[in-house]
């Protein structure tokens, strides 16, 4: 079941308000502290990678061979080349592999 359309609009508005609070709040809140605990900084620093990993790892490891192999190829391309090359690799390899395994 997909999220209902009116709900999507409200989610966007709530997400926008919280995002703006993060963009403004860091200056307002952190500027009051002389030092921020290193563990808090390290945790904040890890947030984007930790969240985004959960959005590709299950796809790579539980969907089947085409997704697993294609994600491996994208990873290899990403070691040398930029995001555009990675996305082209993703598109071409997943279509070819699904055809092959399909």
């Amino acid at each position: 079941m997909d999220t209902a359309s009116s709900e999507i609009t409200w989610i966007i508005i709530a997400g926008a308000i919280l995002t703006y609070m993060a963009r403004f709040g860091g200056h307002v809140v952190l500027s009051r502290f002389k030092t921020v605990p290193p563990r808090v900084l390290a945790a904040l620093d890890a947030v984007p990678a930790a969240v985004m990993t959960t959005l590709f790892a299950p796809v790579a490891l539980t969907n089947g061979w085409p997704e697993a192999i294609a994600m491996g190829l994208v990873l290899l391309v990403g070691l040398r080349f930029n995001m555009t090359a990675m996305l082209i690799t993703a598109c071409v390899s997943i279509v070819a592999l699904r055809h092959l395994f399909g």
């Binding site: 809140v29 952190l30 900084l41 984007p48 590709f56 790892a57 994600m71 995001m83």
Partner: protein, 242 residues
């Protein structure tokens, strides 16, 4: 507007060209995938115009397409954008000359490349004037919102997304973003932990909880591994997010 302001504004416009070229494909991709995931063109444009943070917008549309509670989607968007707290704290002291209203606008426009370019300019000893900041931010913002509309409009004509592998683009994009952070401290242990825990949670507890559980595991590990005496981590530019 003084001559100095005009020169700063034009310099900002010049500085933002590579960023716009680098993000145009992602802005359009966002619009197209948003429509594939059940959003209207209006909602795609609204999202780019108000949230204005590429990675979190992609997270949002990915979760709209699955059976995830609304509050959890909002929380996920916020979690991905929480890094802006660090940008805001870092750049705040450089914007001392801005009035409150100017600061309020500047922080709304504080996307990853805006932060990175502002830091770069400050490091070269040049002041961050309001004119330069807007010269850079306004074209990036206008392009980002327009790209969402273009992508959403043409996305409707794409039909079955699996036929072109478009459903696989979003996970690949997230892999790319995560790889962009790989020079950060403890990156590999965090990624391996979040990845392993999210797969286990996906298989046992089920979707959507694997997102929060996996993310919390990685963040906790980073906090545990941080050395109390270690220097502050460098806030760096996160590629791929406009």
């Amino acid at each position: 507007m003084t001559d100095a302001d005009r020169a700063d504004f034009l310099q900002g416009m010049k500085d933002c060209v590579p960023i716009i070229l680098g993000s145009v494909a992602f802005g359009i991709l966002f619009g197209a995938l948003a429509v594939e995931n059940g959003m209207s063109l209006y909602q795609a444009v609204l999202m780019s115009a108000t949230i204005y943070a590429g990675a979190s917008q992609m997270v949002g549309i990915e979760l709209f397409g699955s059976n995830v509670a609304p509050w959890l989607i909002v929380l996920s968007i916020f979690a991905v954008n929480f890094r802006h707290v660090l940008y805001s704290a870092t750049i705040g002291p450089r914007l001392k000359s801005f009035s409150f209203a100017k600061k309020a606008l500047a922080f709304f426009l504080l996307v990853d490349p805006q932060f990175a370019e502002s830091e770069r300019r400050a490091e070269r000893g040049k002041p961050i004037s309001f004119a330069w900041y807007l010269g850079m931010a306004i074209p990036i913002y206008c392009c980002w919102v327009t790209e969402a509309a273009i992508g959403a409009y043409f996305g409707k004509f794409i039909g079955d997304p699996t036929a072109y592998g478009l459903d696989f683009l979003l996970p690949a994009y997230f892999l790319g973003l995560v790889m962009g952070f790989r020079r950060r401290r403890n990156w590999l242990p965090v990624v391996l932990t979040s990845g392993a825990i999210s797969v286990i949670a996906y298989k046992t507890v089920g979707s959507p909880w694997h997102v929060s559980i996996g993310a919390i595991a990685g963040v906790l590990l980073a906090a545990i591994m941080a050395k109390p005496a270690s220097p502050e981590p460098v806030v760096d530019y996160e590629a791929g997010d406009a």
